[in-house]
Subunit: 220 residues, 2 copies
DNA sequence: TATTGCATACCGACCAGTCGGTATGTTTGT
DNA sequence: ACAAACATACCGACTGGTCGGTATGCAATA
């Protein structure tokens, strides 16, 4: 097991590595977010991920202790990117919380025009596959999903405050419903290989919100 | 590689197989429907499935040409069982299509009280994981999902006929939305390891249907 | 006795993770 | 100012084990 001479001297120049040093982690995360959304967690191998990211296995296990650890990091990264995307949207500056909510739904509707692996949710994909076998991943996805729900809830709460009569359901339950519809829409889009069903469902969600907050006249 | 005599004579009594002959296919389907819902397609191995079903690999590949073929058969079987379950429910005999729809949603809500691998949808789980890699599975799930949607659509259509004013959206779009909400609810249930979020979402769906078909006074 | 319905043994491909090693900074003692 | 000492980033061959699928045999039924 000591050094065999033949092994010690391998190649004079293994790779000149023209790529910038230090971005392997970022590249792996990006590759994972794309790949897992497209092919699922179990069906994505570490080798594929490395090839995708243009790094080696050594780099992978230098930055992540396991495949599961990468998935967890990817879920967290995905969530923070998503929050950025939705929180920086111009309609966020609207004064009316009802308008903010409706604009959010329309923003998501617009996103459906892109490609499938771009608009689908990593969290939903991941958790569906791993909830029973990888508790740590499940918990991370749950946390991220409810972070988003909480974020929505504050707008729902503000919108509810403008209603004349208090409904029997909570602000949180409606925030949950919004996320639920979106997740379901993604599944139908995958089944269809198209977005017409997803759009139809999101449109109904939009109408539901209008019915609640607009048709029922607001206090203003 | 020809037969070695020592291999030919193995054990005098390999297994008396007390199990009834001829049910291996059924057992494999049942095992697959449970297991894939719980652990996903890629993470379910043929060996596990065989162990679960109490059959051997030989039996597996006698009945199914591949793992993919089993998944397709399981999806079809799952769909026909589900149709049975919902179509034979007592509330199906109600005259009012609106009541039938509301009762359907309540039935699904009630199912959420069971265990996760029992009420979740094999089709949604399967298609999310395989849509990009197994076109045949995707297509089967799509077909099954839209069979269910079509089934719902006929009630929606009948319910719409009772409304005074025709809405701008189609009967099919609402049927799609119903399925979408349910699929989303399953994802949240998996993330939560609980059903409170799923129930909240299904309740909003129920209220939406009421708003459309009940609150808006019907022609009767 | 032929066909169907399994059982057992096995195979090559692939997979997550390891390990010995190198290349490139960064800090520190002099 | 400079080099030794250390730390970080990365490389890629290798391993033990698992996977889907195959080859072959045999027992029960028709």
């Amino acid at each position: 097991m000591k050094t065999t001479k033949a092994q010690t001297i391998r190649k004079p120049r293994p790779t000149p590595t023209p790529r910038t040093r230090g971005d392997a982690r970022r590249r792996l995360l990006t590759a994972a977010i794309r790949r897992i959304r497209q092919r699922g967690y179990a069906n994505t191998s570490v080798d594929e991920l490395c090839a995708d990211a243009g790094v080696t296995k050594g780099a992978f296990f230098h930055h992540f202790s396991s495949k599961e650890a990468l998935a967890i990091a990817a879920a967290e990264d995905f969530q923070s990117s998503a929050m950025d995307l939705f929180d920086r949207a111009p309609h966020r500056k609207l004064d009316d919380p009802v308008q903010r909510l409706l604009a959010y739904v329309l923003q998501r509707r617009k996103l459906l025009r892109g490609e499938l692996p771009e608009f689908t949710c990593l969290l939903g994909t991941l958790v569906q596959e791993t909830y029973a076998t990888h508790p740590a991943i499940r918990e991370t996805c749950n946390k991220a999903l409810f972070e988003h729900i909480d974020w929505l809830e504050s707008d729902v709460r503000a919108a509810l405050a403008r209603l004349r009569t208090r409904p029997r359901w909570s602000a949180k339950s409606l925030a949950i419903h919004i996320v639920s519809v979106l997740q379901g829409a993604f599944i139908l889009a995958k089944a269809q290989s198209g977005t017409s069903a997803a759009i139809a469902s999101v449109d109904h969600l939009h109408r539901y919100l209008e019915t609640i907050f607009v048709s029922a006249r607001s206090r203003k």
